[in-house]
Symmetry: C2
Subunit: 513 residues, 2 copies
């Protein structure tokens, strides 16, 4: 047996591609990591940051603005309240969080097969969040619409590698600000059956999200069944405002998950150093998570960190650089020590295009996200331009990387077939393995097959039009949307959802705040 070409199935290239595509769509509801996270600080450094956060909480404290009820909650819990400023005795917030916040919890999906586990050793990937603009290669950059929003819900639902439908995947700018949450929640419930996120821009919108979820899940009480995980951001530095605290309260009262994320551009919302940004993030997140636990002990939380460095040129956030990666590793470790699930990272970039900059920055961020052992990942697919835009092609390219993560986290197969000693001992020096029975038995499933990479010869690639990765991604998302067939929904439930939305939309005037 010497150098051989691999055996080919009959039916030519098309048949092979179809066969591969079929083999490809193995849906994993979430990732289960098999290796210990990468760590950049030891016990001494981590303790120092924890102690610094306690000093900051005790001496400076946090402002809870325009929410008198929150101040009542804090006073009752033993904090010192001075106006809207709340100061915390050392260790108080950590004790509150550790007393009742679950280490791991299940977020239920409309389809139970798509339930996800939030916490170690699991990783749940969700798409982009919050972009006002949408980008594709043909139409360029433009404001997002409800149609775009629905498209991304559909693309996410179709993806075997995104486990969660996300929340505000893009802003549907064509719908009034005070009503678009209804259309967004409806889209997640109607066009997907993966778990999703509720609205946080006003407590009333959080309540609407809960009511719609009750209809969809056919229950009057969701308190013991988390079906949403919703994102509240601190108003860094050291401020929690009424909208976010109000939304967090609604979700906590209803037993729904709250993702507590300080949003830090180091140099603006925090000092420019990694250690200080970590200290502040920990302090702000502890306050948010403890507030949730005081509101309803045991309510599911996630410790979030969104942190980036600033460009000196433009003051804009930068991504894929070393400092945000280091900070991500530190925060993930601090969350593990605290004992709560952690969210950060994604495929982040400042680039305006799905070009090399976008991919270097995104891949570097995503590798740190994975290696750090992040449990919930927003912005796993689509993010462009520092979050100002979501790209259709970027979504397709990122999603392929998410697929690779599903293989990576499984680690190395050490079974007898994985060791392949039969092949190694029988093949002999100088003989290729292409025709070996072990190879033939394993070749179809041996390697992750990137759907967006071109591995053809240069000449083949020239013949096919010399397309770059982004150009090749355009027909992929178009084809997928054209082929979309959604998950089933009970017509009565659908009608009830639409009724609720129509009633609510008619009950107050449009507004753009």
């Amino acid at each position: 047996m010497t150098s051989e070409t691999p055996r080919r199935r009959s039916g030519g290239r098309e048949a092979r591609i179809a066969h591969r595509a079929a083999a490809h769509v193995e849906t994993v509801p979430f990732l289960t990591r098999t290796m210990a996270p990468f760590e950049v600080l030891g016990e001494e450094g981590l303790s120092l940051l924890e102690e610094n956060a306690e000093i900051l909480l005790q001496e400076v404290g946090i402002e809870f603005r325009n929410d008198p009820a929150a101040l009542v909650t804090w006073r009752a819990a033993g904090a010192s309240v001075d106006g809207e400023r709340v100061r915390f005795p050392k260790g108080m917030l950590r004790s509150i969080v550790q007393a009742s916040a679950p280490r791991v919890w299940k977020q239920h999906a409309r389809n139970a097969e798509r339930d996800v586990m939030i916490g170690d050793p699991y990783t749940v990937l969700a798409p982009n969040y919050g972009s006002p603009f949408v980008h594709d290669l043909e139409r360029g950059r433009r404001y997002g619409t409800l149609h775009d929003f629905q498209n991304f819900v559909k693309l996410t639902w179709q993806s075997p590698y995104l486990h969660h439908s996300g929340g505000t995947i893009c802003e549907p700018v064509d719908v009034p600000v005070n009503k678009r949450h209804l259309d967004m929640v409806y889209a997640h419930l109607r066009f997907s059956d993966k778990p999703f996120m509720g609205s946080v821009t006003h407590p009333d919108r959080a309540r609407d999200s809960v009511e719609l979820a009750k209809i969809a899940f056919g229950t009057d009480d969701l308190t013991d069944k988390p079906v949403m995980l919703s994102l509240v951001n601190a108003n860094s530095p050291l401020v929690w405002d009424a909208a976010m605290i109000g939304a967090a309260r609604v979700y906590a009262e209803n037993g729904q998950g709250v993702l507590v994320t300080p949003f830090i551009l180091a140099g603006a919302m925090a000092p420019v150093t990694i250690a200080a940004a970590a200290t502040q993030t920990l302090a702000e997140a502890l306050a948010g998570m403890a507030f949730v636990q005081l509101t309803r002990p045991g309510a599911p939380v996630v410790f979030g960190s969104f942190a980036s460095s600033l460009s000196m040129q433009s003051g804009a956030p930068t991504f894929g650089t070393p400092e945000p990666s280091l900070l991500l590793y530190v925060m993930a470790h601090l969350a593990r020590r605290l004992g709560v699930p952690f969210r950060s990272g994604g495929h982040l970039t400042a680039s305006k295009l799905p070009d090399a900059q976008a991919a270097y920055e995104s891949a570097t961020t995503f590798q740190a996200t994975l290696m750090a052992g992040t449990n919930f990942v927003l912005h796993s697919a689509g993010w462009l331009e520092g979050g100002l835009a979501i790209g259709y092609e970027k979504f397709i390219l990122d999603e392929d990387q998410c697929g690779m993560a599903s293989t990576f986290v499984k680690g190395v197969d050490l079974s007898e077939n994985g060791q392949a000693m039969d092949a190694l001992l029988t093949n002999g020096p100088g003989n290729h393995f292409m025709g070996h029975p072990h190879t033939l038995r394993n070749f179809e499933t041996a390697f992750y097959r990137a759907s967006t990479a071109n591995n053809d010869s240069y000449e083949q690639w020239l013949e096919q039009g010399s397309l770059d990765a982004a150009q090749r991604a355009t027909p992929v998302w178009k084809k997928r949307l054209a082929e979309y067939e959604g998950p089933p929904i009970d017509p009565g439930v659908d009608e009830a959802l639409l009724d609720y939305i129509a009633r609510r939309k008619g009950s107050f005037p449009d507004s753009d705040v």
Copy 2:
């Protein structure tokens, strides 16, 4: 103090950019990592692979082809020799390597300030190696020439982030195969003063490399002064051929570093599984490194692993996928257990262009390279098309990522300034940090400044021509080459090098093998 824009120095954008560029060029001769590597297997799995490699070496063994002297060496060392097949009692090769191979060693450069340490906890970054083709955006893909080779030596010398001049950065196809090594070694010695690699395509060419190095370093004996690290590849599976073994012998006899690298496309040169590819790589590398140690105990070696998966479509190697990353982590760990420096990874891609595919694959590979704790990294800059081409723009983009690594490996600054408790305790809730004295004191040096990323606003970026990352890299390499002023060289030494080369070139006819 509320939201402020960052202070700007007078002199406008140009002056700021010049200032930054000046601050930027801080040359670090090599990276010193401060964190433990990421590991994907535990003791049990690693022992299993080590045991499997010993079984493979004992039962199947390795062929040493067309080099009778190697068989004499092996017989004398206690191996069983049958024809050209050499079988090794369990543990023999490991004992030989561990008895004399240095864990860490210094490769001397022509300029002592550029000496590098090879081994833990250091990482040395070297450019692309071995590509017959060259790519740039304006001229497209073409065969490499000596002019291109010299250009890449110059670009590497100018880079603050590449520590090593490398070897066959591209093939100078316009020079006869049997003479081009003379021009390549000369270029490394003349246009750079960083450490470099010698020729390995024939033992005579290795000897020429040693002779030229003796002239450049002004000595008749380099045996105690490693000034080259040269790459020998096994002819996998389980074969070492005469050219590589012969070159390794010449370098070992002269005390020069040998980088022993099985080159594995899993599914072709090894079974398709990670565990089996690791087993075979370990076996082949042990044989190569032990041969070097038998030739000259204490001669510096590096355990190399180049491993990739195969595309089912084209049979071409694929990069940036999960299996090569897992294998890289495993091999790095096996090398640490053996106690020798490790080489793998780089910015690898199958893409034909410096596009998003290239960057995802490169960044993913490079992150694994770094996180695994790799000690010597070939292909850190420029690699395209599975190594068939080196790209000018790709080189510039990759190099920026190498710069980020220099910041990342330093880890988190926990000094008083790093903790920034003064800033955190004095700034107060809701106040931006942009004008804080701590920020102003640290802003210039706080963050790695990517030279190839565009972080401007969408509108600024439009005004500047909507260029993608690759397009922006074209003027960078052109400007740098235009501004190149090489390191000094003694005119007498230069003359002696050129004399040697002229004499050798005249002493045998041109040949293309």
